[in-house]
């Protein structure tokens, strides 16, 4: 792998990691909200 390819490799990896982190955070918040709604729902 050339240095340019390695830089590109790292850039893509970092971008993907950020998207995964954002998605996980989003789902953590969503599940928290769903739990609150479900607990508050007597039905």
């Amino acid at each position: 792998m050339t240095p340019e390819e390695e830089t590109e490799y790292r850039r893509r990896q970092k971008a993907r990691n950020l998207v995964v982190a954002g998605t996980l955070l989003f789902f953590a918040v969503l599940f928290y909200a769903i739990t609150l709604v479900r607990i508050g729902d007597p039905g």
Partner: protein
Amino acid sequence: MNTAAPPITPASAAPNAAALPAEWRDFFTLTKPRVMTLVIFTAICGVLAAPGTIHPVLAFTAILAISMGAGGSAALNHWWEADLDKGMKRTANRPIPAGRMRSEDARDFGVFLAAVSVGLMGLAIGWLAATLLLVAVIYYAVIYTMWLKPRTPQNIVIGGGAGAFPPLIGWVAVTGDITAMPLLLFAIIFFWTPPHFWALALFVQSDYAKVGIPMLPVVAGEKATRRQIMIYTLLLTPIAIAPWAIGGTGWIYGSVAVVLSVLFMALAWPVGARMKAEDDKMLPEKALFKFSIVYLFVLFAALVVDRLAAYQGWLA
């Protein structure tokens, strides 16, 4: 009519794929974001038009799960058809045929997205809606993409069934049961898809024939396609009006459905009655295709407005 099935198998890995990890944008592309707009819109309409109430967080979750299921199915479609996509100009730049992604990554992403969507729907909303979502995913990814699309020129009719699931699932997410109304919403999209797509197929030169997919205009010819457009338009009309006729909606939806149906038939008639001439600009076909998009959006919007009007007591 059946034709011999071409040997379609999931794509072999693209020759220059996987030297670099795929961009996250390519994973997003796998979900077919443009198709997703219709999925999200009709799912929202299903949720909003259903009788009953649902917490906004749960409504959002239901629509998210439907979208993720559709995205997962689309990714599986990309995976399975990558070799076909390579041979068509319109699709050659998709992530797998362009060599930007390994086909197994698309497959795994599709399965993961679909599995999470069904689990999310089941845990947050209910298992009837989750089962319907699972059926929709299997219907599109397996029955349509892998089995029937390469085998029958009625593939568009079958594919329309996949697009018809979102409002049904959205409705069931609210009510928890299947009644005539959500089935009619399913039927509207099911019968709307053939005239919509075949009108487009008449004026857009497709590469499908080149890769062995038996599209109706290529296999059965122009005349048969025009006749089928008329047949499906005639079938669509009573189905579009039926939600009002059975008392499932008020006069707002009913009047909009009648007007739209008359316009749809008025535009479909010249398409069904004529044949392509030399240097034909295909104006009736283009008009029908454009109107069909407006038709579906306005019809479903009318359903929601009608429901809101009844709920808010605006018509009382």
